[in-house]
Symmetry: C2
Subunit: 352 residues, 2 copies
């Protein structure tokens, strides 16, 4: 049993309170300044309005103004904000955290320096925490996990990674249930990079359905799974390439943190929906500014970060111009309104 | 331009005549003794009755009794029978083929000796051909390819593998079109093993939908993609493990011949349908004998072959009892009517 403070009351952070609460942990769920309506609702009748479910009875909700109180005795602070709020979360943790606590990150993405050097998000959190960064333990959760499915106790398998194996195992024991299976890993980089890259490639999961819709063939006997599967294969290849480039263990890519996670993310969600518009022929600027105005698109944001970094790393000679052809193509679509015309012959090392 | 004789008029063999015909190759499509109705239909008005499409005008259909005439001038003989007919096909090729011809196999599966030693299907064909086996060239097509999608010219990416690189390239050039992208490989074993294993794991793609149906939750807001993704991940892991065990290149597993192919096969088809019944709780013997009586289930057949071999290889100490936990679980379901109760904690090297 542990005391867990959760910073951010989004659907994934909240869903993770279900197995944690089932195991008797004490959980304080803290909304950010953007989550006041969610906290209002949970305080009123226990319902998370986006998840559409009542949170476990033992979970206590806090407004952000109450964060200090909610965090002070915690053994674990989960950083549950989305990828747009990581720097902000790091600044808050710098003020709220204490030496000896475990910081458990669930946010997926990467950040890049001006020269294209990429960083996993736990490192972005760390950079905001100054000397405290070395006085806490670092861990993260990755793997195929749709929040609502976990919350309704549908079977879910994930990896808890940490810099120290004993920290990963300690956390795993706190969260593991008969519906939530947890493996552990010290391959922080491989798992984090995989989780970012799968969001990038899931965007392409919408292309084939969109193209079929445009052609009026969405209900035809033969649809376009061959297309989707080829994209999935090239995505798996480039995911691994990035894991290796960043210094992670390539083995991660074929398990939960790689193709498993990419599989679930390709099945649906906001990024796939945005990709469907691309398949229909809508320029990405129109998707961003009109069709899906105001909708958070973490996968698209990751394409922006990684796509730009890939170009800079190419200029610097760190990678070859032939590397990451799918990332580059997706980047042209989201950053330059390029039409959907994938360079198939450049995939899988070049058609030959 | 080449002369291609196709032995077997099933949907995949027939679909492959579309890109080949578009490139001006001369194609003789030969039905087996089980394909007379298909050949009747094509001879009458060009329609393949199962595919539901007219075959290319230049494709000439032959009854099996006309096989000798159809094959004699061919540069290439495609062996297009399903996995149940491979030995039969080998016997026919032994009589029909001539030195210098290329045998192009599209059948997926494996065979096992009494002691559990597994063999790829081209080797099964070879074994039936005697000395002629060394006087022809061997090649195969693998990768995510739903027949009907290819036939209607939806984008498809595949790998042509051959024992000799120049043979793979020669064939690729004959089939490559703007909708049919072809890569080449000399990793015959890795590609063939991957293609067999993906059929095995695709069976599991039906489990989650079946379980939801049984619970009356198939139209719920939250379904079971986490479950399907975890299965996909473990499938990818065991697919690679088998490729390595058989001596193939593990790199194949993350590309078209591995996860790409597994993705498309998981999206639907007869094996997934059979898996759905398993998810609903139907004993497999009832699926085989009642629910899907007479339906060809190649993936299930592969589970039988590989599952039994895995047990024998374990007895002989070739592999560990901890290896291939998903293959073993699927085998218990199809061979011993075991209920669907997957040993999740044994997956991914063991939950820890």
């Amino acid at each position: 049993m542990a005391k867990i403070a959760v910073l951010g009351a989004g659907i994934m952070a909240t869903a993770l309170t279900f197995p944690a609460a089932d195991n008797g942990n004490v959980i304080n769920l803290i909304g950010t300044h953007l989550d006041d309506e969610i906290i209002d609702s949970i305080k009123a009748d226990g319902t998370h309005p986006v998840l559409g479910l009542k949170v476990p009875e033992t979970v206590k909700a806090f407004y952000f103004t109450e964060a200090a109180e909610a965090v002070k005795d915690a053994d674990i602070i989960m950083s549950g904000v989305n990828s747009f709020g990581v720097e902000w979360a790091g600044e808050q943790l710098a003020k709220l955290a204490r030496p000896g606590q475990i910081i458990l990150s669930i946010t997926k993405g990467m950040r890049a320096d001006e020269d294209g050097t990429l960083h996993i998000l736990p490192d972005v959190l760390k950079a905001k925490m100054g000397p405290l960064a070395d006085q806490v333990d670092w861990a993260a959760i990755v793997g195929p996990s749709i929040a609502g499915e976990l919350a309704v106790h549908h079977l879910t398998c994930v990896t808890f990674c940490a810099e120290k194996q004993e920290i990963a195992e300690k956390l795993a024991a706190l969260y593991r249930t008969d519906y939530y299976h947890v493996w552990t890993s010290t391959d922080f980089i491989g798992n984090e990079v995989g989780s970012c890259m799968k969001n990038i490639f899931a965007f392409g999961g919408g292309f084939a359905p969109g193209m079929l819709k445009k052609m009026g063939k969405e209900n035809d006997k033969y649809v376009m799974y061959n297309y989707a599967a080829a994209l999935f294969g090239e995505g798996a290849r480039e995911l691994k390439q990035m894991v290796v480039l960043m210094g992670g263990d390539p083995l991660v890519t074929e398990n939960l943190g790689g193709v498993g996670d990419m599989f679930v993310t390709t099945m649906g969600g906001r990024n796939v929906r945005a990709g469907t518009y691309v398949g229909e022929g809508v320029p990405f600027s129109e998707i961003r500014n009109v069709k899906m105005k105001g909708v958070t698109l973490e996968g698209v944001a990751a394409i922006g970060v990684v796509g730009e970094a890939v170009e800079k790393l190419t200029d610097r000679g760190v990678i070859s111009a032939d590397d990451f052809p799918l990332v580059r193509a997706l980047y042209r679509i989201v950053a330059h309104d390029a039409p959907l015309d994938l360079p198939w012959s450049t995939f899988f090392g070049g058609e030959r």
